[in-house]
């Protein structure tokens, strides 16, 4: 009697094992759940940010990520960005990509996100938190240096130069300025006569530039440190007729500026790869969310674009927004 009991027992065991197998397979399906990644940038408009967003979208589609884009209305709205971070922490995404409007002010909330178990990737500009898993973006200090190198090459080693920066305290703005002034300091003849901050407001940049041109009529060169500053400066220089004698180096590549570049009213543009920034940030955030190790920094590079190289095939794609 006991023998066939054993056999029945064996059969039941086998059935249980089978059931176990199938339930295991069922659990595998759960991996198909899309990871959620929050992308919080400095501003909800502008070509640069649109391109960043496009890059992020491509990566999200490729890696099956559900990504949420949010940004304050302008780059000065530090409090707005902090509250967006707090909101994100509450919603507990798998990772946050942050382009901090202020290096120091966003540090605390970044730490909090990390304590909540959400990995944070900084993109485009850094934030003063050691909890950040990775930085993706251009080397802004180097970008500043390259801008100075080109400008001084154009103006010659003795010149008066004005700086139109965007937000004081924003890490990338500070680093660009620092790179620029450090390079300029090598030339005793080069004097930075004025530095203004437009808060990424084109109109303000326009007004500040006109004022600067009035105050320093013998100004040899201006550098504009981001897209909005560039548009304002470009318009002021073009309209005031100062373009004839003024060397202008701008940052980023809004279409208005490309037109001016072709008309030789802007001499060069320091361009970062916004698309790569968005794309790589999402890829890196996904890796961090999965707990994989990520590189501490990912330099997406910068290019100095001038009339000579603006239509090179590899630059066309970088400079001109693709068909939408």
């Amino acid at each position: 009697m006991s023998r066939h009991k054993n056999w029945l027992l064996a059969a039941v065991c086998l059935l249980l094992v089978t059931a176990g197998c199938s339930s295991e397979n069922g659990e595998l399906g759960k991996e198909g759940k899309e990871p959620v990644i929050d992308l919080i940038v400095k501003m909800d408009h502008g070509d640069y940010w649109n391109t960043v967003r496009m890059g992020a979208e491509v990566a999200a589609k490729e890696y099956n990520v559900n990504f949420k884009f949010s940004a304050p209305e302008n780059e000065n709205d530090i409090a707005g960005q902090i509250s967006q971070m707090e909101q994100a922490i509450k919603e507990k995404p798998d990772a946050i990509i942050l382009s901090a409007t202020d290096y120091m002010a966003l540090a605390q909330v970044t730490d909090r996100a990390s304590y909540a178990g959400i990995p944070v990737i900084s993109m485009d500009s850094e934030v003063a938190s050691t909890k950040v898993k990775s930085y993706i973006g251009a080397n802004n200090y180097e970008a500043g240096q390259k801008a100075a190198e080109r400008l001084i090459k154009l103006t010659g080693p003795s010149a008066q130069i004005g700086i139109v920066n965007f937000v004081q305290g924003a890490r990338n703005a500070d680093q660009r300025e620092e790179g620029f002034t450090d390079y300029a300091a090598r030339f005793p003849g080069v004097k930075i006569v004025d530095t203004v901050y437009c808060g990424s407001d084109e109109a303000l940049a326009y007004r500040l530039t006109l004022e600067m041109l009035k105050r320093f009529p013998s100004l040899d060169g201006i550098v504009a440190m981001n897209a909005e500053a560039s548009i304002g400066v470009g318009r002021a220089v073009n309209e005031s007729g100062a373009a004839a004698h003024l060397q202008l180096i701008t940052f980023d590549n809004p279409p208005e500026m490309l037109e001016l570049l072709q008309e030789k009213k802007v001499q060069a543009m320091v361009v970062q790869n916004a698309f790569s920034n968005g794309y790589l940030a999402v890829v890196t955030a996904l890796k961090a969310a999965r707990g994989e190790s990520v590189e501490e920094r990912y330099d997406t590079g910068i290019k100095v674009i001038d009339l000579e190289n603006m239509l090179w095939p590899e630059n066309q794609k970088l400079l001109f927004p693709f068909v939408k």
């Binding site: 023998r3 056999w7 064996a10 397979n25 279409p255 794309y279 997406t300 590899e314 068909v323």
Partner: protein
């Protein structure tokens, strides 16, 4: 490890592999699993190869579709270019309003036509539609469409997608169709380059919607390897993605496998005429293999479930088959240990049921035979004993006649008469019409005559008395049971006695038993003799009739059962008492029965 191996090796032995149940289970399982395995393997091969073929076919068809769409599209643009060329050729006066309007109308028919322009070989503008001012620093003469048109006069050139930077309007992505033509400048035939810019969007849309699997995509390159369309062109320019173009440029048509990106990808190529562009389909092998993987897991699960089911079924079936047989085995074991009453309950499959019926039949027959043997044996024994009984007579007769002769010689005629009378009575009762059962009265009479004769023979060496209750006298009794006992008492108890012997026979009914006792005052028996006397082991030597006390005991038990028989009490020098226990049965009943 070794223990595990040992465990595994001894498993068959411990599971009793030769059991029917195990044999049936293993056989069903082996056959089923084997056939399921073979079938699945064949199906798997068939399915997976056809799935793969289908995928390749699908990819090929998609690429074919895209390239034919592109061909159609390009053909349409070519037609428009020819119309433009004809119009310019026909118009004698370039730049006049009528020509401009005509050209504008042509361009306006389609949204994807951005602009058209005619340039002199030196780069100066002859006419453009729409009439928008030229940008400075266009580097016209360096642009690829301008260069290639002049290099290949008379044939239409297709540029890779590029930014249209000629006119102050917008920077737009276009593909330029260009050709060196001859135009009529106020009656003079002059060479010029005609360019038609086509919005890139259409090509993008044509290609964008195509997807090969989840990750797969298509891209388009021109004969020089410039990327015309790529869904991730940004990433390629940024160096984040890489497309292995070299082998693509070597093929015009067909497909191959590429592992340059680390992943196995299937590249399918089709060339689009007349542009010379190649539509390249990239599909990921692992996605094609998903069908295979799905099939794999399905078959794996199917196999496991099938094996589990088969195991369960085979265990149940074999149990059903083996169970009745095992029941039979247990019954046989009971029979082995002597229990012939153990019938097998009839149940189970037909064959087994039949087997059980026959087995039970056989068992019954064996039981009958055994009973029969017992009866026969008893009968045989009875007849043997009867025969022995019969032997008494000649021996006793001889002795008696001998004694009578001596008495006659001595002239003791009284005693001779007594002897003869007793002898005749003795034999009459011995005969008793052949009946084995006689009244106790007769039996006592029989033994009395015997003792009378013996008393004469032994010259009054002993005295005897017989007493019985009236009730006892009416009972039936097995014939000739007292005589051997009396003989025993005379020969062994009294003959060697110095003084006069005394034999006392009494009979009475106690309850449903008839108790007959025979007591003597003879020499008695040793304990040893006493023990052997009933079992018949110890034959008393030199005795008269040779019919042992044992035989009397046997006969009583044969006739009446084991509850009845003899019992001895004896003491040396004191005498022996033998008690016969019989059932108290009235003679009439017996006679009737």
């Amino acid at each position: 490890m070794r223990d595990g191996l040992k465990w595994l090796l001894t498993l068959p032995r411990r599971l009793h592999v030769k059991q029917i149940q195990v044999i049936v289970t293993l056989t069903i399982m082996f056959v089923t699993v084997f056939s399921v395995l073979i079938a699945s393997l064949m199906l798997y091969n068939k399915f997976s190869s056809s799935a793969e073929e289908n995928t390749y076919l699908n990819i090929g068809q998609i690429i074919e579709q895209v390239s034919s769409n592109l061909e159609l599209y390009v053909g349409g643009i070519q037609d428009i270019f020819e119309i433009l060329e004809k119009k310019i050729d026909e118009s004698g006066l370039l730049g006049d309003e009528q020509t401009q309007n005509q050209l504008s109308t042509i361009l306006e028919t389609r949204a994807d036509l951005v602009s058209a322009a005619l340039f002199k070989p030196d780069g100066s503008l002859v006419l453009n539609v729409p009439a928008v001012a030229l940008r400075p620093n266009t580097k016209l003469q360096e642009q690829s469409w301008f260069v290639s048109a002049q290099k290949n006069p008379g044939t239409l050139q297709f540029s890779p997608p590029h930014i249209q930077n000629l006119f102050k309007w917008q920077y737009r992505w276009v593909v330029s169709l260009s050709k060196q033509i001859v135009y009529n400048d106020h009656g003079q035939k002059k060479p010029g380059v005609l360019v038609l810019d086509v919005n890139f969007r259409t090509i993008d849309e044509l290609s964008h919607r195509i997807s090969l699997g989840k990750k797969g995509y298509i891209y388009i390159i021109d004969p020089q390897g410039n990327i015309v369309y790529h869904p991730q062109q940004q990433l390629i320019y940024a160096g984040l993605k890489y497309e292995n173009l070299e082998p693509v440029l070597n093929y015009a048509y067909g497909s191959y496998e590429d592992e340059s990106t680390g992943e196995k990808r299937i590249i399918t190529i089709k060339t689009v005429n007349p542009t010379g562009w190649r539509v390249v389909g990239v599909s990921y092998a692992d996605e094609i293999m998903t069908t295979k993987k799905d099939l794999n897991t399905f078959i794996f699960r199917f196999l496991i479930i099938a094996i589990a089911l088969v195991l369960l079924i085979s265990v149940v079936v074999s149990y059903k088959i083996a169970q009745p047989i095992r029941k039979l085995e247990r019954s046989v074991k009971r029979i082995e240990s002597g229990d012939f009453r153990a019938l097998v309950p009839v149940s189970g499959p037909y064959e087994v049921e039949q087997l059980f019926k026959r087995f039970n039949l056989m068992l019954r027959r064996i039981r009958e035979l055994m009973d029969q043997i017992i009866h026969e044996q008893e009968a045989k024994r009875k007849s043997e004993l009867d025969a022995l009984q019969a032997q008494i007579n000649p021996h006793f007769l001889y002795n008696t006649l001998n004694a009578m002769t001596r008495l006659a010689e001595m002239g003791r005629s009284d005693e001779v008469v007594t002897t003869i009378t007793s002898l005749s009575k003795f034999f009459r009762i011995s005969l008793s019409q052949g009946n084995n059962i006689i009244p106790l009265r007769d039996e006592l009479e029989h033994v009395r005559h015997y003792l009378v004769i013996q008393k004469i023979r032994f010259k009054n060496k002993f005295e005897f008395e017989i007493e019985a209750s009236e009730e006892a006298l009416g009972c039936s009794c097995l014939k000739l049971i007292l005589q051997p006992l009396a003989e025993n008492a005379v020969y062994h108890g009294i003959e060697v006695l110095a003084e006069t012997g005394h034999i006392r026979i009494s009979a009475q009914v106690a309850g449903d038993q008839l108790i007959i006792t025979l007591q003597d005052n003879g020499i008695g028996m040793t304990e040893e003799v006493l023990k052997g006397i009933l079992s018949g082991e110890k034959r008393v030597k030199g005795s008269g009739s040779g019919v042992g006390v044992h035989n009397v005991h046997e006969r009583i038990r044969l006739y009446y059962g084991p509850d009845y028989g003899l019992s001895y009490e004896s003491e040396l020098e004191e005498g022996t008492a033998v008690t016969i226990t019989l059932p108290a049965v009235k003679l009439e009943e017996t006679m009737e029965g």
